[in-house]
Each structure stands twice: as structure tokens, then as C-alpha cells.
């Protein structure tokens, strides 16, 4: 047991060091690299906390796609070094942050000994949903409304990112052009890794009902493959104005809504799943959602249209 404690303590220390480096260093690029490493380490922490679903999501998003996003911004930035405020400001900020941290630590220690939990309730209702993975049950059944709203958030973020383009590029392709030095290895990687990766992504979402995985982790993996394909120049980002793209982007929420209102007819409530059909219906939603998530994530990273249609 002590060894496990030591391991966790070491992991925590490593996390803090890397995060501290990412926050404190003056070089933007280094900070972003540090943050990506932090994301990967964090997913280890999630495994330690018995949250494999979160670990997968964190690895795909926190360490993966977010890293790419931040990297793309840091590469483009003209200033490579951060201009920090005066010593006094930093000191006051550090004191304030330290007080908050200390307070939080105190609160962590004061958390009730008998932790209040919804685990029994979740477990009890698990049978109705026909799923084996309680986290997925929470996401897709108990708190499905959250998940739907969250997908709207994602879609809206896409609209928001698109709205940052320029008027004359509207309808065109995002300008995500890193293929100036397309090279053999990258090409090879794209050709080999992308199909396998997409397969793994689909697998992740498929097993998500019963095992760690789920639509978001799967979608994020597929998105990463898409980005790799763009990097290697194997594929081009789609036209923002194209019809299929729009349909694909909204598919997840649309199916959600259809199933939701179907619930009135089938089970008397919005987003209620008919007895025995819960799992297939959820899988249908997840198929559409995985597609939409993958596409939306890719589009979020490649940014607004930057070339004339």
C-alpha cells in the first residue's frame, strides 16, 4: 500500500512540476509543450482515480487536441517570450493564489468522512439502461440533458470559430496548411496510422456502453486522425459551406432531439428510452454523436475558412 502511495505522491509531484513549468516559463512554445505533457500525465492520474473514461477523454483532448490547438497558436505568435508584470504584482498574485490553494486544501480535508455518493442509485438504475459502464449511463441516460446541451456548446463553439473568419473567405476551406514540407515519414504515418486510428476510435465508442470508452473519446481519436491526414497533406479540410458537412456536424444533436421527442411517444417522457430498447437507441445516438464530435473537433482545430471558395 505504501508503494502505491509513493507512486501517487510521485505522480502528483510530477504533475505539479510540469504544470508549474507550463505556467511559469516565459517561452510560449515551451509552455505549450509542457502543458501537453501535463495532459498526458494527468490521464495517468485519472487512471489512478479509477476513472478510465475520463483518462481516455483527457488523453485525447487535454493532451491531444488542446495541445495541437495551443501549439498552432504559439507557432503563429510573433512574440516568443512572455512579458511578465512587475515583481510586486507577481508577488501579490502568488499570495492570493496561495491563500486560495490553502483554503481549498482545508476544504479537501474537511470533506465529509462518509462521502455522499450517487453510486448506489446509479448502480441500481443501470439495469434499466442496459449498459455496463455506469459513466456512460450517466452521460446518456440520467444526465442526458447535460450531454445534449454540451453538444450544443460544441456546435456553438464551431459557429463561433467560423464567425471569426473574414467575409470574403466565407464558404471556403480553412487555411490549415502545414504540408509545405510533406515528408515521407509523415506520409507513411498518415497512410498507416489513420485507418487503424479510425478503427480504434470506432472501437472505443462501440465498447463505451459497457467498458471504458464512449462517444467523446472515440470521436476525439478519429478527429486526431483527421488532423494527421491534413498535416500530411493526404486530405484537405472541407469547404465550410458544403451541405454534407453541415448535416454531419448537426447529426448528433439532431438524433438526440429525435430520440428525445420519440421518447414522448415511446415511453411518455422526453429522452426516455423504451423498455428493453434502451441500449440500441443509445447506440444509435452515439453513432451520430461520434461522427459529429469527430468532425466538429477537427473543424475547431483547423479554424475558420481562410481561403476563397
Amino acid at each position: 500500500m505504501n508503494a502505491v502511495y509513493g507512486l501517487f505522491a510521485g505522480l502528483s509531484a510530477l504533475l505539479l512540476v510540469v504544470a508549474g513549468f507550463a505556467v511559469v516559463t516565459r517561452r510560449h512554445f515551451a509552455a505549450v509543450v509542457g502543458f501537453t505533457a501535463f495532459g498526458l500525465l494527468l490521464s495517468l492520474a485519472w487512471v489512478a482515480l479509477a476513472a478510465p473514461d475520463v483518462a481516455l477523454t483527457e488523453a485525447a483532448v487535454g493532451g491531444g487536441v488542446t495541445g495541437v490547438l495551443l501549439l498552432s497558436a504559439s507557432v503563429q505568435m510573433r512574440a516568443k517570450m512572455e512579458v511578465l508584470p512587475s515583481w510586486g504584482v507577481r508577488f501579490i498574485a502568488a499570495v492570493l493564489a496561495a491563500i486560495v490553494t490553502a483554503g481549498l486544501m482545508l476544504v479537501v480535508l474537511m470533506l465529509p468522512d462518509e462521502a455522499p455518493t450517487l453510486a448506489p442509485a446509479a448502480k441500481e438504475s443501470l439495469a434499466f439502461t442496459g449498459m455496463g459502464n455506469p459513466a456512460t449511463a450517466v452521460l446518456m441516460a440520467y444526465r442526458a440533458l447535460d450531454t445534449m446541451l454540451e453538444k450544443v456548446v460544441l456546435l456553438l463553439a464551431l459557429v463561433a470559430v467560423w464567425s471569426l473568419g473574414r467575409d470574403h473567405f466565407w464558404g471556403g476551406r480553412p487555411d490549415f496548411d502545414f504540408s509545405t514540407q510533406t515528408s515521407g515519414p509523415l506520409l507513411l504515418l498518415a497512410r498507416v496510422l489513420v485507418p487503424v486510428g479510425v478503427l480504434v476510435g470506432i472501437y472505443l465508442f462501440w465498447v463505451g456502453a459497457d467498458e471504458p470508452g464512449g462517444a467523446f473519446a472515440g470521436g476525439a481519436l478519429i478527429a486526431a486522425m483527421g488532423l494527421l491526414a491534413f498535416f500530411a497533406g493526404v486530405a484537405r479540410p472541407p469547404l465550410v459551406g458544403s451541405g454534407w458537412l453541415r448535416w454531419a456536424v448537426v447529426a448528433g444533436i439532431a438524433v438526440f432531439l429525435i430520440v428525445g421527442f420519440g421518447g414522448f411517444w415511446g415511453a411518455g417522457d422526453f429522452l426516455a428510452y423504451p423498455d428493453g430498447l434502451a441500449k440500441p437507441v443509445i447506440v444509435v445516438i452515439e453513432v451520430a454523436m461520434t461522427l459529429s464530435i469527430a468532425l466538429t473537433l477537427v473543424l475547431l482545430v483547423v479554424g475558420p475558412p481562410g481561403r476563397r471558395p
Binding site: P85, V89, I92, A93, L96, A97, I99, V100, G103
Partner: protein, 499 residues
């Protein structure tokens, strides 16, 4: 808002006329129809029982609005004031009549706002820089008064008995701002000087009485603590004499009339204060009688300023009658008003002061009459017009108190008794003589708005404070500062909740 059905008609009618502004062909005719606007309210006075004070004040106010409305076209080129002027006129009119008719508190505040705020449009309608300045100051006071009254009314509506002193203080301050009680008076000379003559007439005569009816209604004489009566009497007398003193230094007839209003409103406050001090509710009717006479007299005197430029021969003599009447010239309506309010003053020092203030009024009116006569040689002072309304108004002003005398409990024989005649005559003689002598002395000029000149340092301080707040805003809007403030707020909230 609660009121009697006929009151709704009386107040709906001007609003209906206002809607006429939306119809383009009607717009041309509306200025000529303004005199019709207050008529339903005027008719209402004769058959609806609204209580003696309201009957007196409302009747006089409606009559003045009608006369003033008749005079409006003659003061504007082509007889067509701007749409804004008409709208403001009708809105102010509605408010001015509405404060007498509405029965609930919120409704009173609504009409009070209506009589106060749109009048800004009347004050600034000439668009000159002094008019705009006067308008700004007027509006500031209107909003100040409105806010004070809001607070007072909220306390009133909580129904706590006895009324907390702060509520009474707020009421007096709020209505005091409207009736230009010292030291909240300086907006009055500025705005009456700036406003066109018919507007100045209705504002000084009718609109200002919203404050009087407010004091009468919300400071019931029977129950308000005596102390407040004393305060009103003191402040009122100060205003009565101060108005005369500063008025004497003025040249422009409109400004002199405005200072006379300051003085007269002060005197009215004294009457109300006497009522409060003696817990005698009947004084309300007497105060209303005095006020009603002032409605017509002051309004008509403003019209005289315009009429004088057109036909001096038909103006100066009646104006002298009315002006000195304000001071109590025997057998005029003003004398009746003065006699009516004799009773509450008794025979003590208050009575002496009252007589002295009447002498002061006579002095100021003499000064006004000289200036009026001078002004006809100086066309810059006023553009002429409105002869017929002026004459009608003059007749109404002289006749009205005789008609309404019975409401005060005085009889004809009381007012023609030699003692009564002498009582009202000597202050007039004293003041008039002093006025004639004063004409030979050069009096130092004080700018209209008197103590406003002293406000400059205060304004500078305020500007400095505003600049400081601007710097504060700039500092707080720095990212690290705001972010740090956020954390400080977290800690402060926690600290406050935890302790």
C-alpha cells in the same frame, strides 16, 4: 392609479389632444386648440365634490391653463410652436391638473413627474444657451424632488404611525424643491426667465401648485408634529423676504416676477406652517384660497409682460391693480386673500411679519411695474402678443376671489369694514412709497439664480471627484487588478459568511 370617472375624462382629454399630434393635418390646428385642453377639468370643479382646497386650486389652475393656451399661438412665428412644445405643454398640463384629481400615492407621483419633467421642454423651447442652462438646472431639481418624494412615499405606504420624522423631512424637501423653498429656490428665476411668456405664466401660476397640494395632502395639519410647522414658518418667511430682496436687484420683468414667486411661495409655506403649528385643518382651505389667487395673479402678470410690448396703454394700469393686489391693495382679490389668511396669524409677531412681507411684495411689485413700463421701450426684453388673453385673465384674476369668497368663511361685510381696509392698505402704502424712492437709488445687480454663483467651487470639487472615479475605473479595468479583485472578493465573501 385610482380616480373618479369624470377625473379620467378630464385628464384623458388633453392626452387625446396629444394623440392628435400623430396626425399630420391636425398638427397645424392643435396650437389654436390648446385652450380647450383644460376645460373638462374646469367644468368638473363646479359639480364634483373634490373638497374645498382642490376645488379652489384646480379651478384656478384650469382657468390659467386655458388662458395661457389661448395666448400660446400669438407668441410664436406663424402661430405655430414646435411639435415638442405642444407635446410638453399638454403633458405638463395633464400632470398639473392630475395632481389635484388623483387619489392614490403612486398615481400622485406619476402626475407629479408629469408636471415636473416635460416642463423641461417648455423651459428650453427657445434653445438659447441660457435657456439650456436653466433647463438643465430645472431638470436636476425636478429629478431631485422626484427622488426625495419617492423615498418619502415609500415610507408613507408602509403605513407606520406616527410618521417617522425622516419621512416628513423628505416630504418637505421634495415639495420644497418644487415650490422653491429657500435654499432650493434658484432654479425658479432661471427657468421662468428662460421660458417663453405663456409657458412661464402657467409654470409659475399653475404647475408650481403641485407642491402646495402635495404639502396640503401629505402633511395633514391636524396630525403633523408642531415642530414641522415651525420649520415651515421659519423657512417660509426667510423665502418671502429673501425673494423680495433679491428681486429688487433684478431688471428683467420676468426675473422679478420669478423672485416674487419665490417670495409668495414662501408666504404660502408660512400659511401652511401656521396651520400645522396650530393643528387647525381649516387653514388648508385658506391656504388654497391664497394659492388660487396667486395662480391667476402670477400667471396673468407674466402675460402682462408680453401684452405690454403690444399695447402698453391697456397693460400697465391693470397690471398695477393686480400686482399691488398681490400685496393686498384693498378691494382687490389679493386683499381678500390676505384677509382670509389673517386669522391663522393671530396678533403676535407672526402677524407683523406677515404685514411686513406684504409691504415687501408691494415694494417688489412697484419695482416690477417700473421695469414693465421701461421694458416697452426695450423690445429686446419681450416680443409682444396675447392682448386678449391678458385682458380676460386680468378680469378673471380680479373677479375670482369675490366669487369664491364664501368658501373661506368670510363675508362681504368683513372685507369692506374700515379696519380690514386699513389693515391691508398700510403695507401697500409703505411698500409702494419705498418702491418709488428706491427707483432713485442704484441697486447692485445680483445675477439671476443668486446663490448658484456660489456653487462654482462645489462644481469644481464634483468634477475632481468624477475625474478621480474615472482614474479608479481605469485602474480597476486592468487585467491583473480585476483578476486579483476577483480573488479578493472570493476571500472577502468567505470571510463575511464564515464569521
Amino acid at each position: 392609479m385610482t380616480m373618479k370617472p369624470f377625473s379620467m375624462i378630464a385628464l384623458g382629454w388633453p392626452m387625446f389632444l396629444l394623440c392628435g399630434l400623430l396626425i399630420r393635418p391636425l398638427r397645424k390646428w392643435l396650437p389654436r386648440l390648446l385652450w380647450l385642453a383644460p376645460l373638462p377639468a374646469f367644468i368638473l370643479v363646479f359639480f364634483e365634490d373634490v373638497g374645498a382646497p382642490v376645488t379652489l386650486l384646480l379651478g384656478a389652475a384650469a382657468a390659467l391653463w386655458s388662458i395661457g393656451g389661448w395666448a400660446v399661438p400669438s407668441y410664436f412665428p406663424g402661430g405655430r410652436p414646435g411639435v415638442g412644445f405642444i407635446a410638453c405643454w399638454l403633458l405638463t398640463l395633464t400632470g398639473s391638473l392630475g395632481v389635484f384629481l388623483v387619489e392614490d400615492r403612486v398615481g400622485f407621483l406619476v402626475f407629479y413627474a408629469l408636471v415636473s419633467l416635460p416642463a423641461y421642454g417648455l423651459v428650453v423651447s427657445e434653445g438659447t444657451p441660457p435657456a439650456r442652462r436653466a433647463g438643465r438646472i430645472y431638470l436636476g431639481f425636478a429629478i431631485l424632488g422626484e427622488n426625495l418624494l419617492l423615498a418619502a412615499f415609500v415610507i408613507l405606504s408602509r403605513g407606520v404611525m406616527p410618521l417617522p420624522p425622516i419621512a416628513t423631512a423628505l416630504l418637505i424637501a421634495g415639495f420644497g424643491a418644487k415650490i422653491a423653498l429657500l435654499p432650493l429656490h434658484f432654479w425658479m428665476p432661471l427657468s421662468y426667465t428662460a421660458a417663453p411668456i405663456p409657458a412661464a405664466a402657467v409654470l409659475s401660476g399653475a404647475a408650481v401648485k403641485a407642491g402646495i397640494i402635495g404639502l396640503l395632502r401629505f402633511l395633514p395639519m391636524e396630525t403633523t408634529p408642531v415642530m414641522w410647522g415651525g420649520l415651515l414658518v421659519t423657512v417660509g418667511f426667510c423665502g418671502a423676504f429673501y425673494g423680495v430682496a433679491v428681486g429688487l436687484t433684478q431688471c428683467h420683468p420676468k426675473t422679478i416676477l420669478a423672485y416674487s414667486s419665490v417670495s409668495q411661495m414662501g408666504f404660502l409655506a408660512v400659511i401652511i406652517g401656521m396651520g400645522v403649528a396650530t393643528h387647525d385643518g381649516s387653514v388648508a382651505t385658506l391656504a388654497a384660497f391664497y394659492g388660487a389667487h396667486h395662480v391667476l395673479a402670477k400667471g396673468v402678470l407674466f402675460l402682462a409682460v408680453g401684452a405690454c410690448a403690444a399695447r402698453p396703454s391697456l397693460t400697465v394700469a391693470p397690471a398695477a391693480l393686480i400686482g399691488l393686489g398681490l400685496a393686498g391693495l384693498p378691494l382687490t382679490g389679493g386683499a381678500l386673500a390676505k384677509l382670509a389668511v389673517k386669522a391663522p396669524f393671530g396678533y403676535g409677531p407672526a402677524a407683523t411679519l406677515a404685514s411686513l412681507s406684504a409691504a415687501g411684495t408691494a415694494l417688489l411689485m412697484t419695482h416690477f411695474l417700473f421695469r414693465l413700463a421701461d421694458a416697452r421701450k426695450n423690445p429686446a426684453v419681450s416680443s409682444g402678443g396675447g392682448l386678449a388673453p391678458w385682458l380676460l385673465g386680468a378680469v378673471a384674476c380680479i373677479a375670482f376671489p369675490w366669487v369664491a369668497l364664501s368658501m373661506t368663511g368670510l363675508s362681504w361685510s368683513d372685507v369692506v369694514a374700515p379696519v380690514a381696509l386699513w389693515k391691508t392698505l398700510w403695507p401697500v402704502l409703505l411698500g409702494g412709497t419705498a418702491g418709488v424712492f428706491l427707483r432713485r437709488i442704484r441697486i447692485p445687480k445680483i445675477p439671476a439664480g443668486d446663490i448658484l454663483a456660489l456653487a462654482t467651487p462645489a462644481v469644481r470639487t464634483a468634477q475632481g471627484a468624477a475625474r478621480a472615479l474615472g482614474h479608479l475605473d481605469t485602474t480597476l479595468r486592468h487585467w491583473p487588478v480585476a483578476c486579483g479583485a476577483l480573488l479578493v472578493i472570493v476571500l472577502a465573501l468567505l470571510f463575511a459568511a464564515w464569521l
